[in-house]
């Protein structure tokens, strides 16, 4: 809702008197003390906040688990401005693939700290279980009108975890037209990331050294800056239908390597381990370009079907690392009088980065070029999610919801360029995860 005019300061030369106070007094006399008492109940700053508290449990089969409680709150003020805050705590434990490939021998890896090592049995995907991380993030937004048909949304966020700090700001301008049936938005955001990995920044493409040897680590920390522009159009089609189309451009400069991931170098013929400088295997530290430019095209349709509604969206992403991806998401909400049920499916597929290799042979490693990664997240892969959400009211009249989802991620398990013994193993770490979320709003 926009007002024709918000509170405008009266000009000294106005030819109209402000009769409002007189009228208020007159009304007070007419309606009596009862009415006046009702009219006087001005809302304090601390009342009228809409709050959600939620907790999410995430667990991967044999790998990472996380618990993420969140509190978010917001309030709409009389002048239609909105202020919101959000606090997220997320605690991770478990093991994560370190990028190395399964082998026919036992493999020994050094922990990121450089102190201590861990071993992977033959035939298994190497997982680094040094992960024990807690992250705290705080964000806030403020939305206010600029005129009848325009508004600004300002945002800020800060996040800290053991080895990472980030701070960001954003500003979005929204303009309504066509009797508020169309909304155009233009947003920019900037984020500064400070990365301080456990054990220091590994020198890219050097070998992982045994815990007993000196580590090939450089500086203690590095930084990265991310800038984004997001343009969007929201259009009401008819009484039941709404469409959004967004285009996003993002550019990040700085440190992009994953300091905890390596690539296995295997024998040209046997596909087995190659003796390293101090370890029994040769593992090269991750190396990525220091710039990444991403483009995304996103569209969503929301449509009501009687009392129910459906939400369908598609995102196409492409970047200058050679990755393209498609994301489809469909959810259908069936509304009943006091509760609702909402099944959902998501399908995602991505191509691999130009410099992704599940592993490299010894001769390949001699001509590898500047960039190399075996991070499964930059590999060719596809994933699907199915979920169910149920919303209901508790006796106190407040809204609750429970969401359960199953996520499955898979990639090229038996690539054609697998060498020797590699053909016996899965070269993509298949992932199965379960998600449980409970939200309470008041």
């Amino acid at each position: 809702m926009q007002l024709t005019t918000a509170q405008v300061k009266p000009s000294k030369k106005s030819k109209h008197k402000n009769i409002r106070q007189l009228l208020k007094t007159a009304t007070g006399c007419l309606l009596g003390a009862t009415a006046a008492a009702q009219a006087d109940s001005k809302e304090s700053f601390f009342s009228g906040w809409e709050t959600d508290i939620a907790i999410l449990g995430y667990t991967e089969v044999d790998r990472v688990s996380a618990i993420e409680p969140v509190v978010q709150t917001q309030k709409s003020f009389d002048d239609d401005s909105v202020l919101g805050f959000k606090l997220v705590v997320d605690s991770l434990t478990g093991a994560s693939p370190n990028g190395a490939s399964p082998s026919d021998q036992v493999q020994t890896f050094t922990r990121p700290s450089g102190n201590g090592s861990y071993q992977t049995p033959a035939g298994e995907t190497p997982l680094d279980d040094s992960f024990l991380d807690t992250r705290v993030s705080f964000s806030s937004f403020y939305e206010h009108g600029l005129g009848r048909m325009d508004k600004m949304i300002w945002g800020g966020n800060v996040s800290k975890e053991y080895d990472f700090f980030s701070a960001g700001l954003s500003a979005t301008y929204v303009h309504d037209l066509n009797n508020r049936n169309t909304s155009l938005s233009l947003g920019v955001s900037g984020e500064y990331d400070f990365i301080e990995p456990v054990g220091g920044i590994p020198i890219p493409l050097t070998q992982m050294q045994a815990a007993s040897s000196p580590q090939t680590k450089g500086e203690g920390s590095d930084t990265r800056f991310l800038g984004e522009v997001l343009i969007g159009v929201t259009q009401i089609i008819d009484r039941k239908t709404l469409v959004v189309v967004n285009y996003g451009y993002s550019q990040s400069d700085g440190y992009h390597n994953d300091p905890y991931k390596v690539t296995s170098v295997v024998d040209d013929n046997s596909g087995s381990l190659v003796q390293g400088e101090s370890l029994s295997g040769t593992y090269l530290y991750d190396s990525r370009p220091d710039q990444r430019i991403k483009h995304s095209l996103y569209s969503k349709v929301k449509r009501a079907f009687g009392e129910d509604s459906a939400d369908l969206s598609y995102r196409y992403m492409w970047d200058d690392w050679g990755i393209t991806s498609h994301t489809f998401n469909l959810s259908y909400r069936k509304n009943y009088n006091a509760w609702y049920i909402e099944p959902r499916v998501r399908y995602y597929t991505q191509g691999e980065a130009d410099f992704y290799y599940h592993s490299v042979t010894e001769s390949q490693s001699e001509n590898i070029g500047s960039y190399l990664t075996s991070d499964y997240r930059l590999a060719e892969m596809w994933s699907s999610t199915i979920g169910l959400k149920v919303g209901f009211k508790t006796p106190d009249g407040n809204q609750n919801s429970i969401r359960l989802e199953y996520y499955h991620q898979d990639g090229e398990k038996n690539p054609s360029n697998a060498v020797g013994v590699q053909k016996n193993y899965d070269l993509f770490p298949t992932l199965d995860a379960f998600i449980v979320q409970y939200t309470y709003s008041f």
Partner: protein, 297 residues
């Protein structure tokens, strides 16, 4: 239950709604509450209060309070407490509007018939009525009112808004806890946001070339002044049904519709009417008052 009152469940399952006709308008009362008995009690209380005020001050009923005043034939008449408050209020509005808001201007209806035709009254017809208009011509010595012969009082300009405010007070006396919206033909009030914390959604009709709006109300009242249906049209000039009591003539160049938000419906109604009476100056008048308003030109 009352034959003219319909009570049913709200379509969105939020509570109950009562519907009836009063003061020549479609009236509705929405209560967000699951207790059917309590909702019926509150809606009935509103219905009874609305009908009471209508019966007391309607100019179409013989023998009621208003009729007794208007047939007093120049004699002193003693007013009841509620009418005393209303007359006091009318006087205060007369003063703060510099004479533009005048409840004795109803006699102009004899000359002006707003039927969408081009029958503009002649100046002679208007001149004959002007001596019969002007609150300053009454003798008001509370509780005694003397209305000169030939003059008439009409609470039509504030009746509906007054009823809306009184009905809310009545409903809250039954129970204060639940969100209520009382809407008499577009003059409405609510006491708090809806149960799930969201605002009530009120649509303002688009008039002429103006722009419609969707207002979200969490607390307070709205009243609209406008000539959506009652006007005269001659030689391309639109004669609004809002008449200037000092000239007897229709306000020229007034906006088609003004909606004002205020804490009480009566306050909102007065502001929108007085704004309309400013004609072309309506917008600058509203800006001076520092209130929320919506205008359609």
């Amino acid at each position: 239950m009352h034959s003219q009152l319909t009570i049913k469940k709200q379509q969105n399952g939020q509570g109950y709604i009562g519907i009836f006709q009063a003061m020549a308008s479609d009236c509705e009362v929405l209560i967000d509450c699951d207790n059917m008995l309590l909702a019926k009690q509150m809606i009935s209380a509103v219905f009874i209060e609305a009908k009471r005020i209508e019966a007391k001050y309607s100019r179409y009923l013989q023998g009621n309070t208003l009729d007794k005043i208007n047939t007093s034939n120049g004699e002193k008449i003693c007013l009841d407490d509620e009418t005393i408050l209303l007359v006091n209020f009318a006087y205060q509005c007369y003063q703060l509007s510099a004479g533009l808001f005048d409840i004795s201007s109803g006699v102009l209806r004899r000359a002006w018939h707003f039927d969408g035709s081009d029958n503009i009254p002649k100046q002679k017809q208007i001149n004959r009525l002007l001596p019969l208009i002007g609150l300053d011509k009454l003798i008001w010595d509370s509780p005694y009112l003397t209305l000169p012969k030939g003059m008439q009082l009409d609470f039509g300009g504030i009746g509906k808004e007054y009823a809306v405010d009184c009905c809310l007070i009545t409903a809250l006396q039954v129970n204060k806890e639940h969100p209520i919206l009382i809407n008499f033909g577009g003059d409405l009030i609510c006491n708090q946001a809806r149960r799930n914390g969201t605002a009530w959604h009120v649509g303002i009709e688009r008039v002429g070339g103006g722009e419609a709006a969707l207002i979200k109300l969490k607390r307070g009242a709205l009243a609209t002044s406008g000539d959506a249906r009652r006007y005269l049209l001659k030689e391309g000039i639109r004669y609004s049904h809002i008449l200037n009591p000092q000239t007897g003539y229709s306000i020229i160049d007034a906006p088609r519709s003004i909606t004002v938000a205020a804490e009480s419906c009566i306050e909102a109604g007065l502001l929108s009417t007085i704004a309309m009476l400013q004609g072309a100056q309506a917008k600058s008048f509203l800006m001076e008052q520092q209130i929320k308003y919506w205008i359609q030109d």
